[in-house]
């Protein structure tokens, strides 16, 4: 079970109409109400119980592994829980996970927002539907297929891009390339960007659709161009929605397993350059070490999974905070 793709932001739902509010306030209860109340309350409690059970299980197994760890769990650049003495640490994994996800976000968010704006404000009506449908198809592709595509198509064709980045941006240090096969964090970032594009696009599109018509018409009436309308009314209104969409995408990127395991060339080393081998990701490491892991090795992997769990919680918490702070702008979150 993949714990890193918890959905914490519900899809935007329309505000209840005044009539409905009135009816709710009258507060008649019939058996149906009570049953439904019980069902929905039960679902909520069930979710909390499941999450608690996962957390307890992970913590117990992780504690077991940590007590055997001879290295520092947070700073060791090695993963050898089967060795004697067992030594393993997550520094490299945390680095790789965060860096590859950040690259993915940097690529995917602008493109996704662009697509969403195009679909809601620029594209002809007839084109909007099919395009949205194609983007949904992207989300339906299994990650292992992305992995295969990455290995067979993306990696062999990235030499040119890597060379170009190295030539013109090599001086920055983060785009230096020593000529290895292009299977570094940057490649993973590109692949993840494609994988998280649909979810960010869809949620952003829904949000932009909900911009009050009055705002836009008012801006138009003041003589604003279409771009100015988007800048003045659509983007401010949709900001928190886009942020929560991005966080959903980020959650996906952090936990992506199979595609990363197939494309990345992980090394237990941290490299300043994004184009040279350096770093792995939590999920990739679990996938590639699990088959041959001994009892202690498995516990060590679970401990690393717990760290990913915590990172995902932090990301989602931050997203919630941002949205809560900007609530006044938006009807886009429940």
């Amino acid at each position: 079970m993949d714990i890193s793709t918890q959905k914490t932001t519900p899809p935007p739902s329309p505000q209840p109409s005044p009539a409905e509010q009135k009816r709710a306030a009258r507060g008649a209860t019939r058996p149906g109400d009570r049953i439904f109340l019980g069902l929905s309350r039960g679902s909520g409690i069930f979710l909390l119980v499941v999450m608690a059970a996962i957390a307890v299980f992970l913590s117990l197994r992780a504690a077991n592994a940590l007590s055997n760890d001879e290295g520092n769990f947070f700073t060791t650049f090695e993963w050898n829980p089967t060795g004697s003495p067992p030594v393993f640490g997550i520094a490299v994994l945390a680095f790789g996970t965060v860096v590859s996800s950040v690259i993915a976000m940097a690529i995917a968010v602008p493109i996704a927002v662009g697509i969403a704006l195009f679909l809601t404000h620029y594209s002809p009506r007839r084109l909007g539907g099919p395009i949205a449908y194609v983007i949904d198809l992207l989300a339906a592709v299994p990650s292992i297929v992305y992995g295969l595509w990455g290995v067979m198509v993306l990696v062999p064709n990235l030499d040119g891009l890597y060379g170009w980045l190295d030539e013109y941006l090599g001086w920055t240090g983060i785009f230096e390339w020593s000529g290895g096969a292009p299977r570094a964090l940057f490649t993973v970032g590109i692949l993840l960007a494609i994988m998280i594009l649909p979810i960010i696009t869809n949620v952003s599109r829904e949000v932009f659709k909900q911009v009050p018509q009055m705002h836009e018409e008012a801006a138009l009436a003041l003589g604003a161009t279409r771009w100015e309308v988007i800048r003045m009314s659509v983007l401010p209104f949709g900001r928190s929605g886009v942020i929560s969409a991005s966080m959903l995408g980020l959650g996906r990127a952090l936990g992506e397993t199979m595609a990363v395991a197939m494309v990345l060339s992980p090394t237990f080393d941290i490299n300043a350059s994004l184009l040279d081998p350096g770093g792995g990701t939590f999920a990739q490491n679990i996938a590639s070490k699990f088959n041959e892991a001994t009892e202690n090795g498995r516990d060590a992997l679970i401990a690393s999974g717990l760290v990913l769990f915590v990172i995902t919680l932090l990301v989602n918490g931050t997203a919630r905070l941002i949205i809560a702070r900007r609530k006044e702008f938006s009807g886009a979150n429940a």
Partner: protein, 375 residues
């Protein structure tokens, strides 16, 4: 108004039905309908298969290195013994041994012999006995390379150790040139590729490096790669793919993956001539293996520095692991019958076609003896 409410209710019901159906199908088991038992028994067409009246399901899992061999065996065994349904799940050696020790499978396949802790643990499972290693498959490990313009490449253990340890970085290095006086070695960066997942192949390759080049390979052998630098890829197929598509790459993989456009290194051993990787050469080096297991355990210690002409030094042995005593009564006949078949001349004879080498005669004779005594 009423109509609307009706509609909404219908929608809700519909949604419930759909989600319910989805939930149900999500955890539906895929029923791989086994053949029904109790049909008329056909006479075994292969005389070497002794079915021992075994019946029912036989579950096994473990090493993915021997998967192709097991597939071939299951095919011919099932043709002879229709009452046994055999499933072998290539989960990886570690997972296979764990599943076996937890009593989920009848036997396991593993690229590494059991360690003392595992043997101790197995005494719980095997009443009055313990788990034992039965060497069954020999898999040569090829070192594939991709250097444009170089058709044949000779390397010795120290040079290979330096390449995989990132000490030799370019193909035109003197050490490589000295071993290959006739080759046109280009000025090209070496991209040594190792496995990113844990694997018995890595374990055996690093065992070879530390045995044959102790001065240049300072790392412990193990299932995970400890040296720094180089590239990595997941699975033998991933390494093969990487070698195929990257100029300057070199990587180790099971021999069955080193075909279709991958050329393999000839290894310079103590013998006069460099040795190519093939089935016959791998079997030659196995004749120098010693049994180091105690009692019925037939764990082998390979000789990674053979001096004989044509003995290829980089090999791995896959063991089948079962209890010597205290196997489950309902699976014992099937285990004895299947293992007996794969250790027979007929079973071992199928290995070459699948890209493996048979276990040498002396050792396989002991294996057959041990299987007869399983209880």
């Amino acid at each position: 108004m009423k109509l609307q409410r009706m509609n909404r209710r219908a929608l809700t019901l519909g949604a419930l039905a759909v989600s319910g159906a989805l939930a149900l199908t999500a955890c539906g088991s895929d029923d791989t309908g086994g053949k029904s038992n109790g049909g008329d028994k056909t006479t075994p067409n292969a005389s070497s298969v002794d079915c021992m009246d075994a019946k029912g399901q036989l579950q096994a899992s473990g090493s993915s290195a021997q998967k192709n061999a097991v597939d071939a065996w299951i095919q011919s065994y099932s043709a002879a013994c229709k009452d046994v349904q055999l499933n072998y799940n290539p989960t990886g050696s570690g997972a296979g041994v764990t599943a076996f020790l937890q009593g989920q499978t009848a036997f396991a396949g593993s690229d590494s012999a059991l360690d003392p802790e595992e043997i101790t643990e197995s005494k719980k499972l095997c009443t009055d006995g313990q788990a034992i290693d039965l060497p069954m498959v020999v898999g040569p490990i090829a070192v594939g390379f991709n250097v444009p313009g170089v058709e044949k490449l000779v390397l010795d253990a120290p040079t290979m150790a330096k390449i995989f340890d990132d000490k030799i970085k370019n193909w035109n290095d003197e050490a490589i040139a000295k071993l290959n006086p006739d080759a046109k070695l280009p000025d090209l960066k070496i991209q040594a590729t190792h496995r990113s997942d844990e694997s018995g192949t890595t374990d055996n390759f690093t065992k070879y490096l530390s045995a044959a080049a102790p001065n240049d390979w300072k790392y412990e052998h193990g299932k995970s790669w400890e040296a720094k630098g180089g590239q990595s890829a997941s699975g033998s197929s991933g390494v093969a793919q990487q070698v195929k598509q990257t100029a300057g790459a070199i990587g180790y993989m099971e021999m069955s993956y080193a075909k279709e456009g991958i050329t393999s290194v000839s290894v310079k051993t103590g013998a006069a001539e460099p040795v190519d990787v093939n089935v016959a050469n791998a079997t030659k080096s196995l004749t120098e293996a010693k049994v180091v297991g105690t009692g019925k355990d037939l764990a082998l210690e390979l000789n990674y520095t053979p001096k004989a002409e044509g003995a290829y030094p980089i090999t791995l042995v896959t063991y089948e692991i079962a209890c010597d005593k205290g196997n489950k009564a309902d699976t014992l006949p099937a285990v004895k019958s299947f293992l007996g078949y794969i250790a027979s001349e007929d079973g071992q004879g199928q290995l070459e076609a699948a890209g493996y080498a048979p276990v040498p005669d002396e050792i396989i004779a002991k294996v057959r003896e041990t299987i007869k005594g399983l209880s």
